[in-house]
Symmetry: D2
Subunit: 351 residues, 4 copies
């Protein structure tokens, strides 16, 4: 059974493990002061074209989200998020547990637009009986696999700045967003058009690790205290430092994401050719095709994946995820099986 | 300008002030151990027909809500509420500030039904990535002025018990609910079909004060610690004790609510007669008539009230609230003005 | 049995109750926007000689403490307090419940000195593994009945400013401190030499109420949101507004404290004359005489008070508190009883 | 410069890295459901002799502490800890940030005794104005390098049970405690005489990881929700699973700790022979010798370590830590240097 459920079913890219072995017995300072991490941060700042950035490495996405938000908000301030946002639904109340309401906005594609923000600001105006919206949380790629264009991000940021809101981008899959076919968004743009964001290694070749980047001086002050307090400051910070150094000293980070995207695009292409539709635009390594139940049934005998949403009695959307580790021959086999297992009478080439 | 904006524009019923004066110099124990409060609690338990109840007096509704919820929930547990619920929108994030997510359910009448609960339980099933729904919060009267029937409350409670959920009723206006014309709900029923609820004095004749009632032994243990910790334990608890004693040793609490309801019913009757509709069923002392903008404009010259919701270019729903202190002659004048100021061509007797 | 346990055993000064009756049916805006409160705030600003002050009325001391501290501190910031400080021992963990460590400093007289602060700053230097001290909490009068001189407060404030610390003064008994015999501290000084403080009415003639004063613009921004969120914003804010207006439009506040102090001084004088010592300097309305157990035993038959601390087998310190409501004849009787009940052989005139 | 500052200056034991490589591309379930972790948990339960135990793997000690404590305590409940305890001083307020006061007890050796607990319970009796002590936190080895005997742990646990207190043991260095020369404490004892404890891998051969063990069914229910909420549930939980499997399928965990202890004992022996005293009994891999400043000065030219505490003008206690990775030849060199660099006139063989 091959697992298309997620992009964290394997360990790490071999070059990361090799680097851990090479550096293993070199004594290093703890708590993020290791030389590998310091070098990785310098490298990242160069790639971002942002010398004012301050960077911290943490273990995972939920941790990154609660650290950033608890660090930046006063008690009465709230977060705006799409209802599909990871913090809104899938973090067991992590943001509320640090004291803040997450205001949800329903979307069709997982992306927030400037108009969404405006609407929230209008409804949260009965001071001081309502929470005060203060930070906008977006994910790129989104939880629906879609990506923001440069213009979309720029517009959203302008709206935030016009309303004294902070813009925070969850980049657990930022590599996949940057390498999405047709994307015009560059890493430098992300650093220019957000206040804070992070780049995930966990889902793109690392054992664990997210690099949190505060783009402007001032924002993110004394963040190390917050990290320590929430249990996020690893004694052996070298584990994170070595990984980010390995991912960013060359182009490994982008290449791994590109591979995942290519594998997904190949699958998406084949699914389209068979005439099936998608719940959301297939743009990155997460696909949400709507398939006949009969086909889904057959596929579950050979592959693991989530049935995401029932559409009607005969169809459901499933989620297929590829990763840096997905072998092309497995992808080819899946494509073949989608064709083979297709029930008769299914519309072809209509999407 | 007469104020129909809320039911807390005046001080307290005169008999309460008199009692404060009579008892003023009698030395009493502090922190809720005064004899007035102790007697009031015994009286209340008798009226509830529930000898296992434990009762605490606090200052206001938001305070009561955050105390009860923080006392009963573990960190990962969440609250289910109508999106019109006071805790969902109008408490500046009080529940999130004590760590808990409030899951919102859109309703048309402000009331939760058993089916709503079921739907939430189905969508919050991806353990441990989602919060765990644990407490259902309802208001009676609701924030839309509607009331629960005995059967509605009983059904909701059964659904809660079947799913290990606690049912918590915000009774900031419970007097008005119990005295709503046609209501079959008795105070004893509220104690039987909820786990915890409170009865508000602030909006029904008191200077301040809500009586929190835990209906079953065990639920609500060590609540006094929580009260102290959240700043809710008044040094001069006698201020609350005297008021509740005064409200409950006779029928004052119910009579004051009845007066408010009667004043509202009279207004509602007149508005219906003029042919206007309502945003929600007029059942208690909060009315949400939909009136022509021209009429609203005229009325604002003589009365204070909230414009609640724009319906279209020509109409809006307004909120009119009566209280124990609303004089009947002002009500009569308002009714006359509604007739007088009615723009020509408005439909009559159609509602 | 007369109660010398505390200064909140009675209701309110009669003039306050009368004012509540006079204003009772005048409709007012809710949530702190009543005209009485607005006028009281203007009056207070005049008395403080501080036009930049922003003032909020809340119900009690624990509430005031947690509101101010949660409003001003970031998550990793901590409070410095004497171990006798109310927040350190007697608020059921209120400050920790809003997320902040209280660093305790042992003192002999309940007062913090500049050197105490320096010592804390030296020991909390292992960034980011320790909390960051950010706010100094003091009480005046202290929990041991002592008072700060103008120079003491000024020095402490200078130390705070030199180290980017906020100084917060808990004035639950500030009236008693200002009126302490020999005190050179004026209300204006408190406003000049702290960042934020409050003046208590609960223990000085009010039914409930503390006036929180932020002395500088900027400090205390959006405090009303925090008040609402923590359940401290009373719907009928007039209850607080009327009381503070009544206490401050003349000299009532100071006169009531003066009476309490005079009654205490009379008792202290008599106790000294009998040759007994005190646990702390008798300066205000809280006395901690060290008395023989035999005498204590006798006194408990006629008076209520706390046995504060055992000294040895034969002696204990007790706490006697007087208030605005303590009648002079009861004081005289107590003094007589202290003389009458004194065991033979007790040293006289040695203190 | 060799680093004796801590036991996390190197990476992981090579066998752990090898195992990570071997298992790297085997697809596994995420979030702690990998087969390696499941097997490691079964193994641990066998070694504990406790089939009711429930086990969770997390990243670090501060994280483990805040997870366990926030999971077990209600809002008004507090923790008792030695003032040398990690949670009391070195976690940036992690426990207060999840809402709980840590009551500090000064000790000479870092260990809590039954009598300490009794004293706290006596002073925290003014319900509901004080916090309620509910959990006792101890470290083994302690932060001073000392260890609990079986009897000491048993007595403390009995005291806890007699007072409805939970006993929680921080075992960041539990391996070192179990392998301390002369220790009679077995792993099974730890599971019998505590309610919850953890065993650290971070400081004993792992890259990161602490195994939290709840000893009784009921305690620790729904802990996975808390882990997710606090950002402690790693997507690639295999990283922890593989490490604990590797450490516990043989005797690696104990052997690594034994090596660290032996290296420390050798150093301690030599220091004693030179006539120096220790701040605390040298029992495990943390040593606190009191050395002349002149000697310390010389040693800092070749070795890194903390100057822990000034004793007087001429002497200070330093902290020397050994680990699984400390080479014996470096230890021998340090011993030689301690002898060589000793200032003349130092007392020999007096300790």
């Amino acid at each position: 059974m091959y697992n298309f459920k997620n992009d964290y079913a394997e360990g790490a890219h071999p070059s990361i493990l090799n680097r851990l072995i090479e550096t293993n017995l070199v004594q290093q300072s703890g708590y993020g002061e290791d030389e590998y991490g310091l070098r990785a941060k310098e490298l990242l700042k160069e790639k971002l074209g942002n010398k004012w950035a301050t960077i911290h490495f943490v273990s995972g996405g939920t941790q990154a989200n609660l650290l950033v938000i608890s660090s930046l908000l006063r008690p009465h301030e709230a977060v705006i998020s799409a209802t599909s946002g990871h913090i809104y639904t899938n973090e067991a109340g992590a943001i509320e547990a640090v004291g803040h309401k997450v205001i949800g906005i329903a979307t069709t594609d997982g992306k927030l637009k400037a108009a969404d923000i405006e609407k929230v600001l209008e409804s949260y105006n009965l001071k001081p009986h309502v929470v005060k919206p203060r930070l906008v949380y977006i994910s790129n790629t989104t939880e629906m696999g879609t990506v923001y264009s440069k213009t979309e991000l720029q517009d959203l940021y302008a709206q935030c700045k016009a309303n004294s809101l902070l813009l925070f981008l969850d980049g657990a899959r930022l590599g996949h967003a940057l390498m999405a076919p047709g994307s015009d968004l560059l890493l430098e743009d992300v650093s220019r058009f957000t206040d804070v964001f992070y780049m995930g290694a966990t889902k793109n070749g690392g054992l664990l690790g997210e690099a949190i980047i505060f783009n402007h001086s001032g924002v993110g002050a004394e963040f190390d205290y917050i990290m320590k307090q929430k249990g996020a400051l690893l004694a052996k910070g070298r584990l994170l430092g070595v990984q980010f150094l390995c991912l960013f000293e060359g182009e490994l980070y982008l290449k791994l994401a590109q591979h995942a995207n290519l594998m997904a695009a190949k699958i998406a292409q084949a699914i389209k050719k068979e005439g099936y539709h998608f719940l959301s635009l297939p743009q990155s390594n997460q696909l949400f095709p709507i398939l006949p139940m009969a086909l889904i049934q057959k596929l579950t005998e050979k592959y693991q994946f989530y049935i995401w949403q029932k559409v009607d009695e005969k169809e459901a959307a499933v989620r297929l995820i590829t990763s840096w580790a997905t072998p092309e021959d497995v992808v080819d086999e899946l494509i073949q099986d989608i064709r083979l297992f297709a029930p008769e009478g299914v519309p072809v080439n209509l999407s």
